[in-house]
Symmetry: C2
Subunit: 148 residues, 2 copies
DNA sequence: CGGTATCCAGCCTGATACTG
DNA sequence: CAGTATCAGGCTGGATACCG
């Protein structure tokens, strides 16, 4: 949604953070949603969260991540990794060997983020069934347009 | 990303929840990311979180929401509202008056979600500056490709 | 092995117009 | 006022090919 990765160009062009709007909130206010949007845009890359999730316990190499995430393309992995690196969520360590070795490790910031999304994860786990149930109910009530 | 709202058609076609993969996690595990993805897809609609955020304190009518969210198109508002309603995050109450009155109210489920995203909101607020700093640092170090 | 650049398809999004 | 339908555009994301 604001992930700047169209064709791997202008990597910072879209970051247009308008100043002001700095209100003391508890984190769930209306004005705070904007902040959250940034984060969910950051994490809502669909791959970002997967990547940092895999990086949670140990550092991984590029190909290891490529295998681990399973389904991500090389392009998206690179893009995601670079963005995450840019945001300071992970570090990229290049070992100048003949076959290049690149290690990706989660930073403290990344760990804290993972910890925060864990809250959402718990909510998801807790209410997934409920939501699924609601959807089914809703869909049933709306697809019942063939009576008589 | 998985928001099913292409042209207001097949509202439940994409919900392909494969069974299994039910592991007891703490909410931050790798396998748990899938669950979170559903939620951030649910909330990452960019408008969804804004809408439920505005609905947090009081119920609102369609046009009120339209004005409040400011920037959302009628189409997206409707789509978002219907999705949220489908998921059981809010209720839609139609008052059969001559000028149609439709009230949207957050459900308990919606409130709990809002509470969970508040955690992310707090994280965002806390580390926004840090991330911004990291980005600037990263961009600076990478745009310094014009020496000599 | 790690990464970049290009091409291309699909989806999301927004604007507009019309109906009840 | 509330909502639906249609059209057009922008962005995201995947596959492929090639470089260091």
């Amino acid at each position: 949604m604001a992930t700047h990765q169209n064709t791997a160009r202008d990597p910072q062009q879209r970051t247009a953070p308008p100043p002001g709007a700095q209100v003391p909130n508890d984190g769930s206010g209306v004005a705070e949603c904007r902040q959250v949007l940034q984060i969910i845009s950051l994490v809502g890359n669909k791959w970002s969260i997967l990547v940092i999730g895999h990086l949670r316990d140990r550092t991984l190499r590029f190909s290891e991540l490529h295998r681990a995430v399973d389904g991500i393309s090389q392009r998206m992995l690179t893009l995601t990794l670079r963005q995450l690196e840019r945001d300071g969520l992970l570090t990229r360590t290049v070992h100048p060997t003949v076959p290049p070795h690149v290690e990706y490790a989660l930073t403290t910031l990344g760990t804290t983020l993972l910890d925060s999304v864990a809250t959402l994860g718990r909510w998801a786990t807790t209410h997934r069934q409920e939501i699924d149930d609601n959807r089914l109910h809703y869909d049933t009530a709306h697809s019942a347009r063939t009576p008589t």
